[in-house]
């Protein structure tokens, strides 16, 4: 995104802006200042970003959004703190808060930084002559901040890797999936508490309801929804991205500091590289019950914030460094969904096995490392697996071995070669007769 000239950033397009609802409001009502032809006088008491006080300046007309937004993740940045608090101890919070203020807090987003101007951490500047955009312009708003991973993946900017099918084929923008209800938040209680869900509001992008959920649009891809044997076998154990995303970006070793020469904050990332690894879901929940998910190495290191104090991440190993990921480069056909054998052949290439994790990060990643590869299964074997009798609908559970291990009630004894599937759900292959 090319930077704007200083005059471009503040040029108001009278023809477009004045006929809009916001154009009917006097400039000084939101921006303060003084009516004067002299620039310096006019800018006395200027409020450059009125929506930094959303309830005061936006709330009269947008009450619903301004009530919930102060508790939304884009406003609170609570996701960062959830991770920082898990990896540290309260005694270190003061130094981490200083670090956060210098390096992370600029990502806090006001209403205006999505709806009327480019975010300040990419230089700011009005989008369209001060016209408020209901849908933020994707590349000047969303991917201006979420560019190095999500933006590059979605738009196909990683060399040799196709962009997301939703962009390539349907020209969908971010808002098509990430609706206002998600971005504006749904909590208005400082606890905070999600009133629409009746439970605590999300404190991280992967807590709370899965939003967006692929099956909201692709309804038949849910288990029991179509004839695709992959969806039926894996719909509740693999996140959609395991089969439908491709290689994505991982990063290592981000370190933050204040420049001795300029006095400004800066960071250095040791490495950025392309990976695709399937790991274990470290925290299966009702909303995300998946056993396997793609995992991305995030740029955290035990000494990332060493400039601000020694050993600030005392509990560094409390969270993985290979984290649950939802790469934004979805494809219908991917190398891994080409056949069952890609995953069920004993080939560990696609899986985050111990050898792929740095030795000093093994403890942190114990919950995501795949120790046992999925059992060997051929397409032929899968498709020819006997169906369960109709009366087994009453027994639909994971306890098949209760009868089939020893032949209780004349149940056929599970073959010896099925021992390797002992940790898997039998219904993955043996479907219930319709």
């Amino acid at each position: 995104m090319a930077p704007l000239e200083p005059w471009q950033k503040v040029l108001v397009d009278g023809e477009k802006f004045l006929p809009t609802d916001h154009g009917e409001i006097a400039c000084v009502d939101c921006h303060g200042g003084v009516q004067s032809p002299d620039k310096e006088t006019a800018h006395e008491g200027l409020i450059a970003s009125p929506s930094a006080q959303p309830e005061k300046y936006c709330g009269e007309c947008h009450e619903e959004q301004t009530t919930t937004y102060p508790f939304a993740l884009h406003s609170t940045q609570q996701g960062y703190w959830t991770a920082l608090e898990a990896r540290s101890v309260p005694e270190n919070h003061a130094q981490l808060e200083e670090m956060f203020g210098n390096h992370c807090a600029t990502c806090h987003t006001t209403c205006g930084e999505c709806h009327v101007s480019q975010p300040k951490n990419v230089g700011g500047g009005l989008f369209t002559g001060h016209v408020f955009e209901t849908t933020p312009p994707m590349t000047r708003s969303c991917t201006a901040c979420h560019g190095s991973r999500v933006g590059n993946e979605f738009l196909g900017k990683n060399e040799g890797l196709a962009g997301d099918v939703h962009f390539r084929e349907a020209r969908m923008n971010c808002i098509k999936c990430h609706a206002g209800t998600e971005l504006h938040g749904s909590s208005s209680d400082p606890t905070p508490f999600d009133q629409t869900q009746g439970r605590p509001a999300p404190d991280h992008r992967y807590s709370g309801s899965e939003m967006p959920k692929c099956t909201d649009c692709h309804e038949t891809a849910a288990p029991g929804g179509d004839d695709n044997p992959m969806h039926q076998a894996h719909g509740d154990t693999l996140s959609c991205q395991v089969c439908h995303s491709i290689t994505y970006t991982s990063c290592d070793g981000c370190h933050t500091a204040i420049s001795e020469t300029s006095g400004r904050p800066f960071f250095e990332t040791e490495a950025t590289y392309q990976t695709f690894f399937i790991g274990l879901n470290p925290d299966p929940s009702e909303d995300r019950p998946y056993k396997y998910v793609p995992v991305r190495h995030v740029p955290i290191a035990a000494d990332s914030y060493e400039f601000y104090g020694r050993d600030l991440l005392t509990n560094f190993n409390a969270l993985p460094t290979w984290l649950y990921a939802t790469p934004h480069n979805i494809q219908k056909h991917t190398p891994q969904n080409a056949s069952c054998e890609t995953c069920h052949s004993g080939d560990e290439t696609l899986f985050l096995t111990e050898e792929k994790v740095k030795s000093d990060e093994l403890e942190a990643n114990a919950s995501v490392i795949v120790e046992t590869l999925p059992p060997l299964v051929s397409v032929e074997k899968f498709l020819n697996a006997p169906l369960l009798p109709v009366d087994h609908v009453e027994h639909a559970s994971n306890s098949c071995t209760a009868c089939h291990a020893e032949g209780i009630r004349e149940a056929p004894i599970s073959p010896e070669d099925h021992l390797e599937y002992k940790d898997d759900n039998c219904s993955g292959c043996h479907k219930l007769q319709q």
Partner: protein, 79 residues
């Protein structure tokens, strides 16, 4: 034209002009709930708004905008 007629005509012109004035946010559909914090009171943007006179004038902004010295980023790698 008598002074009385002139005055009446002026009143009529002022009335007509006020009807054409831009809509104030106060004319917007009434809200049912009161905002938690007192909202900034909005008034109609005057036609001779000094802010707009300057900020819609591209050349004037070019002439008066304070040059920005782009500080070279000292960060390295992907953020």
């Amino acid at each position: 034209m008598s002074k009385t007629r002139t005055a009446s005509l002026l009143v009529l012109i002022l009335f007509a002009l006020s009807a054409c004035a831009s809509k104030s946010p106060a004319d917007a559909p009434a809200k049912t709930d009161t905002p938690a914090i007192e909202a900034a009171e909005a008034t109609a943007a005057p036609v001779n708004d000094e802010c707009l006179i300057c900020h819609t004038d591209k050349q004037r902004l070019i002439d008066t905008a304070k040059p920005e010295v782009a500080a070279e980023s000292e960060s390295k790698g992907v953020g």
